[in-house]
C-alpha cells in the first residue's frame, strides 16, 4: 500500500531536475561535437580535393624571403626560424610598448588628478582624443603621415641629444658593444646579482621579523651597483664601449637601427594604450577614499610617505587587474604591425602562408603563439596581483 502511494507521487523523469541536468548536458555536448565534427569533416574533404594534407614539415624548408630586422636572419634560413624571428619581434614591440604605455599612462593619470586646472584639462584632452579614435587610424597617422611624410630624409636627420638620429628611415641610437674585458666584468655582474639577491631576502626576513613596512630592494640595489661599479674599474679597460651612429654617404653606420615601422608601431601603441592606462590609474587613485589620506596625515606621515605607504598599495589592488588586460590588449594589437609593414609574427606567418599555401598550420601556429603569450602575461600578472591583494582576516 505504502509503496503504491510513493510511486504515484514520484516525479516523472521528464520533470526530474537530476535527469534533466544530465540529459541537457549530453544534448549540448552532442550538438557542439557534431558541429565541430562537421567542420573538420569539411576540412578533410576540402583538403583532399585540393590535394593537401596537414603537416608541419614545410617549416624545415628554406624561407626565401627577407626580414629586415630582429634576430640575425637571412633568406636561406628555414620557415620555422623565420617564424621565430617574427615571434621575437612581436615580443620586442610588446615589451617596449608596455613599458612606455605604463609610463605615459601613469603620468597622464596623475595629471588628470592634479590640482592644476590647465594640466588637468590637457590630460583630459589627451585621453578623450585617443580613446575615441580607432587604433589603426592612430597607427596609420604615425606611420604614413608622421614618419614617412613629416620627417626629413636620412641626410637631414633630426639630431636629438645623445647621438640619436630621427629620419624617414627610422631611429638610430648608440649601442653598447662588449670589448675584450667584458668576460671578466660579466663575473662581477653575476656575483653582484647573487649577492644582491641574498641581501634582498635577508632584509625581507629582517623586516618581517620586526613587523615593519619597507622595501628590501632599497638595500639590495646599492649592493648590486657597488659590485658592478667596482668590477668596471677592476677589469682592465672598459668592458663595454659605446658605438655611435655616424652619417656616411647614403646612410648611418654603427649604432643600433630601429626601423620606421617599428618606431611608428611603438609610438602608436604606447600613446593609444597610455590613454586607457591613464583612466585606469585615475580610477585606482580615486578609489582610495579621502579618509585614508586624512588619517595617514593625522598620524603624521609625510606627503611622500602617504603616497608610498597608504595610497599606492590600495590603489594598486584596483589598478592591477584592468592593467593586465590592457597589457594583453597591447600585445594583441601589435598584430596590426602587418598593416604598416613591420615583421611581427602575424606578418611573417602571412608571408609564409602566401609562399607555402599552408593555411591551417599557420593559423594554428599564430593562434598558439598569441594564446601562450597571453597566458604567460596573465599568469605573471595574476601572481603579482595575488601578492599585493588585500589579506582578509
Amino acid at each position: 500500500m505504502r509503496k503504491k502511494v510513493a510511486s504515484s507521487h514520484a516525479i516523472p523523469f521528464w520533470r526530474d531536475i537530476r535527469v534533466l541536468r544530465v540529459v541537457s548536458q549530453i544534448l549540448f555536448v552532442t550538438v557542439i561535437a557534431a558541429g565541430i565534427w562537421w567542420l573538420l569533416n569539411n576540412l578533410q574533404t576540402n583538403l583532399k580535393t585540393a590535394g593537401l594534407n596537414i603537416s608541419f614539415r614545410f617549416l624545415n624548408n628554406t624561407a626565401g624571403f627577407p626580414i629586415s630586422e630582429g634576430l640575425r636572419y637571412d633568406p636561406t634560413n628555414v620557415n620555422g626560424y623565420a617564424f621565430l624571428v617574427g615571434v621575437v619581434n612581436t615580443i620586442r614591440v610588446a615589451v617596449i610598448g608596455i613599458v612606455l604605455a605604463t609610463v605615459i599612462g601613469t603620468l597622464v593619470g596623475i595629471a588628470r588628478l592634479s590640482n592644476n586646472w590647465l594640466l588637468r584639462k590637457l590630460a583630459a584632452l589627451y585621453v578623450e582624443t585617443l580613446r575615441n579614435i580607432p587604433l589603426l587610424v592612430v597607427l596609420f597617422f604615425c606611420y604614413f603621415a608622421v614618419m614617412l611624410t613629416a620627417l626629413p630624409l636620412v641626410r637631414d636627420s633630426i639630431r636629438l641629444p645623445g647621438f640619436v638620429f630621427l629620419s624617414r628611415r627610422g631611429l638610430y641610437i648608440p649601442s653598447l658593444v662588449p670589448t675584450g674585458s667584458f668576460g671578466t666584468w660579466a663575473w662581477y655582474l653575476i656575483g653582484g646579482l647573487v649577492l644582491a639577491t641574498v641581501v634582498y631576502f635577508f632584509r625581507r626576513v629582517q623586516l618581517k621579523r620586526a613587523d615593519r613596512p619597507g622595501f628590501p630592494i632599497v638595500w639590495a640595489m646599492p649592493v648590486l651597483l657597488l659590485v658592478v661599479i667596482a668590477g668596471w674599474f677592476l677589469a682592465s679597460g672598459n668592458p663595454l664601449s659605446v658605438d655611435v651612429p655616424v652619417l656616411k654617404r647614403f646612410n648611418f653606420e654603427g649604432g643600433m637601427w630601429l626601423s620606421t615601422p617599428f618606431v611608428a608601431l611603438v609610438l602608436g601603441l604606447s600613446t593609444y594604450t597610455g590613454a586607457y592606462i591613464a583612466e585606469i590609474v585615475r580610477a585606482g587613485i580615486t578609489a582610495v577614499s579621502k579618509g585614508q589620506t586624512e588619517a595617514a596625515k593625522a598620524l603624521g606621515l609625510r606627503r611622500t610617505q602617504v603616497l608610498r605607504l597608504v595610497i599606492l598599495p590600495q590603489a594598486l589592488r584596483v589598478i592591477i587587474p584592468p592593467l593586465t588586460s590592457q597589457y594583453l590588449n597591447l600585445t594583441k594589437n601589435s598584430s596590426l604591425a602587418i598593416l604598416i609593414g613591420y615583421y611581427d609574427l602575424m606578418n611573417v606567418a602571412t608571408t609564409i602562408f602566401n609562399q607555402t599555401g599552408r593555411a591551417v598550420e599557420m593559423i594554428l601556429l599564430v593562434m598558439g603563439s598569441y594564446l601562450s603569450m597571453s597566458l604567460l602575461t596573465s599568469v605573471f600578472m595574476n601572481y603579482y596581483n595575488r601578492r599585493i591583494k588585500l589579506l582578509e582576516r
Binding site: L47, W117, L122, P134, L135, F140, S335, M346, S374
Partner: protein, 403 residues
Amino acid sequence: MADDLHTFHSTSNQLPPPSERIPVLRWLKQNLFSSWFNAILTIVAGALIVVLIFGLAKWALGARWEVIPANLKILLVGTYPAEQMWRVWTSLYIIAFLLGLSSGLRSGLIRRISAAAGIASIVLAILPFPWVTRGWTFGVAFAVAVGFGMGYLGKKNRWFKRLEITCWVLSFPIGLVLLNGVGGFLPVIEGRNKWGFVLNLLGAMVGIGLSFPVGVSLALGRRSKLPAIRWVCTAYIELIRGVPLISLLFMASIMLQLLLPASVRPDLVIRAMMTITAFSAAYMAENVRGGLQAIPKGQYEAAYAVGLNGALTTVLIILPQALRAVIPAIVGQFISLFKDTTLFGFIAILELLNISRSILGNLEWRGTIFELYVFIGIIFWILCYSMSYISRRVEKSLGVGER
C-alpha cells in the same frame, strides 16, 4: 521662549548666505599658481597648449581641405552607384523618422538625441556641398520633424507605442534589404566590399545587434551550474580573448572556405561581420559576467521563494540588474567594436580607412594624407564620443550607484 519664537519667525526675513564668488585672481591662484611647482606646471602646460594651437591653426589654414568635399561620396559610400543613392538616403530617413517618432512618444534623453540629429543635418545642409546633397541632407531634419509630430499626436494611444517598437525592430532588415537590393524588386548592388563608411556603420550595427545576445548567453553559460555548458563557454571565451582580431579575420578570409562545404561561400562582408560578432561576443560575455557576479545571492533566493523558475529569475530579476550595473563596460565594448571595423581593410574590404588610401594613390590628391586622416579621426571621434556620452546619460537616468 518668546525670544526663541521671535528668532524662529525672523528667519524668513534673513538673507540667504552669500554665494561664494571667487574673484578671477583668486581662482587663478587656487587653480594655477598655488605653489611654485604648480606655477611651473602651469607655464609648461600653457606653453604646450600655445604651441599646439598655433601649430594646428597654421596647418589647418594651409591644408588642402578641398580633398574632403571632392571625395566625400567615395569616402562615405564608396562605389555605391550614384543613381541608386536614394536608397542610402531612404534608409537614413527611416532611422531619422523613427528617432523623431520615439522622441515624440517619450521624453528625456531621446529628445536630445533626435534634436541633435536634426540640428546636425541642418548645419551640414548649410555647408557648401552640391545642392542635391544639401537637399537630401536637409531631408533628415524633415524626417525627424515629421516623426516627432506623429509621435507627439499619438502619445496617448498605447497602440502607437507597440507600433513604434515593431518599427524599430523591422527597420533593421528593411534597411539592409534596401541597401543591398532584392532580386526582382530592387537591383542587387555588386561590389559590396567597397562601400566606404557605410561598411563601418553596417559592421558596427550588425556586430552590436548580434554580439549582445550572444555575449549575454555566453556569460550565462559560463556561470551555469552544468559543467559541460560552463566548460564549453569558458573555453570559447578564453580562446577568442587570447588571440587578436586580425588573426580571426585572417582565418575568416582563408580558412572558412576550408571549413565549410564547397557549395557554401559566404560573401566577404558577411564573413567579416560574422568574425567581428564572434570576437566581440567573447568580450561582451566577460563584461556581462562582471555584472552577474555583482548580484547578491539573496536576489536569486528571493526570486525562487516567490516561485519564479530559473529562466524567469534570470530574465526578470538578474539580467536587468546585472546589465544596468555594467552599462559603461558594455558601451565601451560597442565603441571598440565600432573602432575595430577599420580592421576590415585587412581582408580587402574598402571601408573608410582603406578607401582613403585609394584616394591617396590618386596623383591629384597626393600629399593630402594629414587632411584625410584628420577627417577620418574626427568622424570616429564624434560618433564614439556621442556613444559614451549617451551611455553616461542613460546610466544617470537609471540611477546606477545611487541606491
